[in-house]
Subunit: 416 residues, 4 copies
């Protein structure tokens, strides 16, 4: 973090305003802008780059941005700019990052970081060589529900984490470039799986090494080259399992659910389609309901505050607070690189039909972990298997004799 | 809005920072402070008043507040202060408001505005006479779910609103003054009903006059003088019905639900206990889960971001944006006064056991509305009653003959 | 129970087959028949009476009934018949019951028993004078969820019952006679409120006397004389409150929910619209989904086994087991009479706008109960108000001094 | 179906009573007996075999069974017996089936049919050689929710089925033999996966051939040889994917959920832990709540009628109706054999870490199916990719040019 950031004493308060260059004025760029300039934010987008002039102008007008351009380098080089926010199609991330390195500008990039691990590694090496702040905009590990759930997991409420599943499925993305393999670099594995992998990895522990991946993928419905449906398993060094379920063929809206199993507990999170808000309408007043809703009559399930529920607010808060404090944000290009490496293994596995190793040239977590023991001592002679309450209200223990290996049942007093 | 508020050109951005004096350092004052200074807020609490020195100091330390005091007037008079935020027990609101009038300071007050309509009316008259900005901190009409639901209602998605129910129930408040009738001014009707009445009124239309109230109230469980459980109906001039269900005897957490019925649709909102976040734990890691949760083992239902889900963020955003723009906020002392008037009628009804009129000396909405017709024309001879799909897949109409009043059935072709 | 019922040793099993005369071949008659002859039932409808010949014939064919008739007395008098099942419009119940008395036939009647308490009382007196088995077909206190919840309540899991709410709302009934005040005797209060009152009464205790009723009712949407929306409160002698919410104007399907609050617990039951079965369809395969579903595209919420979920199976099991055992069923004409008496008070209250007493000439439960105390002792000097866990993880007690009445807070050790 | 079953004209009704010999008096045998003799059933258990005399006697007493024995052959040979119901540990199924063949008795067996496909195939061949009625007691394709969902799937409401996931997870079985690899033949894959595989297969189509299986399995928590957690994918010849998630390490109760994705719709079923019944209790009245519930304080989620919700009632209805009608039940030993074959492949895959082929010597469904096309024509020049409603309320189409393969966007008029 070599560059000193601007602090000001304003109105007797020490204030740190972040000034952003936004690259890309599409769907995601606008979501980001709504969040960055939302609430009572002190931060400001000061330059907007778009490939199309009319889009750049429109964005500048809508978000009161002083400077617009169709020249990416100009936006990045702008003296006003503290940090560059990349909201471009996947195939343009690397070039944008290299320009940020050239101008020593802090940078944060939308997900996935690269179209593959090779791209991501080059970006990671470049930003570290240039010693610039780098943030990876993985919003779904910043949702309010995730943050609180993750805190519970870290506090031990679930015991040892055994399995973390993340599912993202919807009827397909809204911009044409997603459907083009060259620009996007992949289908729903890359587009949605990147979220799921980082969610699973976060619950299991970001310092636990992902070892190998098994993945099924197919193009079941859409007339495209890339996969529109995939399921994958990610094995970690400590024996925990991550799971992702991703699809562009789901009908009914945006299905965004996570589940975690631990030896002492369970978490179920529904981020979007069932959040305690049900609305039925016979059809009058057919307005925009929510991202990827499929109907506007009958039962609807809107989300109160999409920007907050999808994690954008807490994500940018972490990014800018980190920039202010001169620390790293929770998610960096390194995380983006790890995610790309896991997804690369998933793509290889979908073709080879075997478990494929995760190739991590750069790994900064723990090494050499072993699976935790599955033997819990009950007494000198037995291991504990299970406690059971019967229909009759009495309790019994199921135990395993250490020497003989034999399973026995033992009645215990009614605790009722 | 006589007083010009301070705008500054900061770092090339026109910035408006709001500086707040917080009165009260208890549970609600801290919630407010977390919200006001949360996210990337440009706003700042600059003075804290508490009745107890140690509380004032602790608050000042926790929230980095420059000035603390045990003298309320000192906090209000402080030159730095743009707006005063009242987070005091109910019996102290009026005195605080009068001091704000004296110093011509913008003021916003927690709910309920007064312990009764007389207090509320005096406060309303005072702030209007003093021409100061006044905001009523009714957070539950600022929850993200409410805001979106309300927008749907206004867009006509539910047709004509027939009924709006709001329920708030929990095992009782956390500070001792709530349980003392003199300080609180009432029990759960005043503490919780104020939320419910304003929610119902907002769905039905804030310009529709509440006419009369029927209320049952009792002290069923707690050893107190005030009521710990109540149910009320509020009749509006256009025939719509508001309903509140409030209790300090509910077991299981904080039950916060709203329901709306319209002629064309339905809304169900669960704000707290079922929001798509389920957590089971055998008991390790017993941390604080959520406001008013009763257990920390077994199934838990945490809320991701309480400040946002409870409406605090959007409420203060409206308050400060309004202050900045020189407009009124959505909720003003006038609304607080209307709510107190409805609750007064509820208290009278609980004693008299009849429908009690709502006495509104000050009314700024519509007058003389009548109930909407319940006759929908089907054809020249019939009114429409209902369309029905039978087991067999055919459809039939139920109609009423205009002349004879006779109900008939008419089979129509299968639309299947 | 004077008449000896037929038992037979069949295939070495002592078998008791019930033979039923069904009066009425409409919507409810068919539901009943599906249940009575469902699963591996040993029971059989042996005669069907309908006012229209074609309906009687069709029913006889569909359910393989040996005898059909358009003469009610003929069906009842039929020698084969053990019990008569009344599934007729409300205005025909009394005449049917009188015929059963004449022929000393066991009888069970659909709900409500009468159009008012006077009719119900005459029926009750007649069946008791004739000493015939009489069952009241209130299916919603036989739903599997109710049965299990009721068992929990009786076992003390909820402590003292404070409030029991039952809600039934849908877009209106499917047969024309419901909409005709003369035949039906009332609107949604009578049609739906009869369920709600008996549900509330069952949770609170069928031996606890309902004392008075407050009710709001209106005709908000439908072009009818009877009410299409009503809300009522039923006060019981021990201070518990029953609540009913009924409507024929609800949009979205069949809303059937119950809630119970006790001093130690809470019950929430959703019987129909949210039972763990969600289906989304873009619209192909537009079949019959569920009773009173409004749409067949978008999100649907079917019920797995309507007959079972609505209580029909367990209701007829109780009726026939009782008949076999020579005991009374759980619900008798006496219960139907009590319900009608409560509803009569509701109708009076809706007009008089005051709490109306429940007039019960016949009352077989407890008398002279008082409200339970709301004082729980903490120690010699204090009553217990509440235990609270703070943000900081410590616990505090809120207590009331017996002598001074003052509320105090007392910190207790962290149980964490 | 060679043996003529006994029909009788009883009380003028043609009655068919089924007389059952129950083998096994444990947890599942009692569940079965509760169902078989439940409601107003005409059927009867006439003989009970248990390995332990006291268990046999107790069962005979509880269920009023005329004959008990500790000699399995005696129960089967009993002249009264129409059909034998096998509720024994997995390692005893085959011997019991062979005795049924010897005595030409109709037989139905609990799940899984065999410990592996070889056992299952021998049983299948034996019952077919003996020409005896054979039923496979896979209750979870008989749950009311499954039956209705399956009907929707068959009617086309979901379009082409793409994926069917079934999840069964709980804290581990209640009898000691499950934990012993020799008796059980496997861990949670065999115990729970057998349900999931048949559920998935039923949604996808029982005539569609399962081709290969990928499975991860591990022993993460329990001190046993068998797996306590597994996830598997089953690929079908038409490209559809079945998925099973099974565990004996789940905390929080019995998690029993199914999900189906089709090209036109979605199904989500929760069979147990969230069915519209929530109960909170502070802990008084600590009774038995539900199968595999872990706590009896705090929030509970009971199931109304476990026998019905778990499919037992509809399963035995199908079995006995089939026996009566001389037809096959929906589930036969053939289905049990197919399931065992899929599970064998899962076990092989968990070891080999590759997709393992399903070896089906006996296959009676379709052969040679191909994956459906993923190209939907939009017009002569384009394939349809997606229709999208933007924030602004306008609609756009995403299309693919047939010749160039290029993805384009096309605005269409607002349908609002």
């Amino acid at each position: 973090m070599p560059r000193k950031l601007r602090h000001h004493l304003f109105n007797n308060k020490l204030l740190f305003m972040v000034k952003i260059a936004m690259l890309g004025s599409g769907f995601i760029g606008r979501f980001y802008a709504d969040s960055i300039q939302g609430y009572r934010s002190q931060d400001k987008i000061v330059s907007i780059y778009s490939r199309r002039e009319e889009s750049a102008k429109k964005f500048a007008e809508d978000y009161k941005v002083a400077h617009w351009t169709v020249n990416m380098e100009e936006a990045i080089a702008n003296k006003e700019v503290d940090i560059v926010c990349i909201s471009l199609p996947n195939n343009l991330h690397e070039a944008a990052v290299m320009l940020c390195c050239k101008y020593k500008k802090a940078v944060m990039s939308t997900k996935p970081l690269g179209r593959n691990a090779a791209e991501a590694r080059r970006m990671l090496k470049a930003v570290e060589a240039a010693s610039i702040f780098n943030g990876y905009l993985e919003d779904l590990v910043y949702t309010p529900k995730f943050l609180k759930a993750h805190q519970s997991v870290k506090s031990g409420a679930l015991g040892r984490i055994l399995w973390a599943k993340s599912r993202e499925a919807h009827p397909g993305p809204h911009s044409e470039w997603f459907w083009d393999l060259e620009q996007a670099g992949g289908g729903c594995i890359l587009d949605l799986g990147c979220h799921c992998v980082e969610i699973g990895r976060s619950y299991i522990g970001k310092n636990i090494k992902p070892i190998e991946v098994m993945c099924w993928a197919d193009t079941q419905v859409k007339p495209i080259e890339a996969e529109d449906h995939a399921i994958g398993l990610v094995k970690y060094e400590n024996g925990a399992i991550g799971q992702f379920e991703v699809s562009w063929t789901f009908r009914g809206g945006l299905d965004l659910r996570d589940e975690v199993m631990g030896s002492e507990g369970t978490i179920w999170i529904n981020n979007f389609l069932r959040t305690g808000f049900d609305l039925f309408t016979t059809g009058k007043g057919a307005d925009y309901v929510a991202e990827k809703a499929e109907t506007n009559t009958g039962w609807q399930f809107p989300v109160g505050d999409e920007l907050n529920e999808l994690g954008y607010n807490h994500m940018f808060m972490d990014m800018f607070d980190a920039l202010e404090a001169g620390r790293q944000p929770k998610e960096t290009f390194y995380d983006g690189y790890v995610v790309n490496s896991v997804l690369d293994a998933a793509y290889r596995s979908a073709k080879s039909k075997i478990w494929e190793p995760v190739r991590l040239d750069i790994w900064r977590g723990e090494e050499g972990l072993k699976k935790d023991s599955n033997f819990t001592e009950y007494d000198d002679e037995h291991y504990f298997v299970k406690e059971e309450t019967t229909h009759y209200g009495t309790k019994k223990l199921i135990l395993k004799n250490k020497a003989s290996g034999k399973i026995i049942e033992k009645l215990i007093e009614d605790a009722g």
